[in-house]
């Protein structure tokens, strides 16, 4: 059995680990709430803008989808949204494995967001055509360069981790163009035409600008979703670490009390033995 003092020393270290995991868990929880709020605001923004976009074309969904249908002969792009650094556990590995199931180098180019994913692809010797840091900002996500990179492709599939709930995150892939259909709701909006509306600079230029804007927003939403899922994963990892630290600490406390009692018992035995011997010696003298 270890000495109580040694157990106490280990116990203090585990208490520090437990306190740290508690702090990280709290930070992750705050981040989850913050990003969740952003997702909600961004979704509302998208819906409002979609409502206006719907009003300038009879079927804006068809216009966006047409880009997909008219350029069938071109390559497709896989966009993979990974973490910017480590601490993302095995999520990025799973993301890459899922993407590779559909990957054909002859027909597909990979665009990677996040250093962690880029490193993993390099380790696996899988080529990617473009790399971007995950665009992140408190007020604005600049996905312009990413959109410029994927516009020439006939189809863009985005692989990312989706937030289902705090405890559940799933890997998902979406077609960026057709996903616009899913993200928007059908709106009963009167058509704004050149006959009843002033368009500046022109209806066509506005339609083109809006199309790219809607794609930007769709990609930003996906990045936010991914970020939310990553924060939730961190929260879960910290919650598990805290639980494990608490269990270890409980074990150490039990071991400490046993060691302490054992030490006390030993001391007591020593006292009793010495008393007995003293009495024996006194008896012999008498």
């Amino acid at each position: 059995m270890r000495r109580a003092r040694a157990v106490e020393k280990d116990s203090i270290q585990i208490t520090t680990v437990k306190d740290l995991t508690w702090v990280f868990e709290s930070l992750a929880s705050t981040q989850v709430a913050k990003v969740k709020n952003k997702v909600q605001m961004s979704t509302e923004f998208f819906k409002l803008l979609w409502k206006r976009y719907s009003s300038i074309r009879i079927d804006p969904k068809k216009r966006i989808t047409n880009r997909d249908e008219s350029e069938q002969n071109k390559k497709q792009a896989f966009v993979i949204i990974t973490a910017e650094a480590g601490l993302s556990g095995e999520i990025d590995q799973h993301l890459i494995e899922t993407m590779l199931k559909d990957y054909d180098s002859a027909t597909t180019d990979i665009v990677v967001l996040g250093s962690h994913g880029a490193n993993q692809l390099t380790e696996r010797k899988i080529p990617y055509v473009r790399f971007f840091k995950v665009p992140e900002s408190e007020n604005y996500i600049d996905v312009g360069p990413v959109i410029d990179a994927i516009l020439p492709y006939s189809k863009t599939i985005v692989y990312f981790e989706e937030y289902v709930s705090l405890g559940v995150q799933e890997i998902r892939s979406i077609n960026l163009i057709t996903s616009l259909k899913d993200m928007s709701e059908d709106v009963d909006e009167d058509v704004m035409t050149a006959g009843n509306t002033i368009f500046e600079p022109s209806l066509d230029e506005i339609a083109d600008e809006m199309e790219v804007t809607m794609m930007k927003l769709a990609l930003s939403q996906t990045i936010l979703e991914s970020s939310l899922a990553q924060e939730a994963s961190r929260f879960n990892a910290m919650a598990i670490a805290k639980k494990r630290a608490t269990e270890i600490l409980g074990g150490y406390q039990l071991e400490y009390h046993r060691a302490k009692r054992s030490e006390n018992d030993r001391r007591m035995r020593e006292v009793m033995v010495s008393l007995k011997e003293k009495r024996k010696r006194q008896g012999a003298r008498a």
């Binding site: 002033i198 600079p201 506005i206 930007k216």
Partner: protein, 87 residues
Amino acid sequence: MALPQTNEKLKVIARAPFNVYYEGDAEAVTATNRVGKFDILPAHADFFSILSPGEIIIETSSEPIVFNVSNGIVTVRDNEVMLFVNI
């Protein structure tokens, strides 16, 4: 800027993806597009435009709301002004 005497008000929504600049009634909105600076007053014709970088001024019954934008879309329809900015 001298505002015309009218009881009509604009209903203004000014938003960025993660920010609500203003939502409520207003007397006028000033913004900039490729043509130049323009004002939107009550009873303005239906309008759809791409915003250029610059200042947005929303004249409310109290303090004017002023903020800068890098890009955006503005629409006017039946006295409802929507500003989607910093996209």
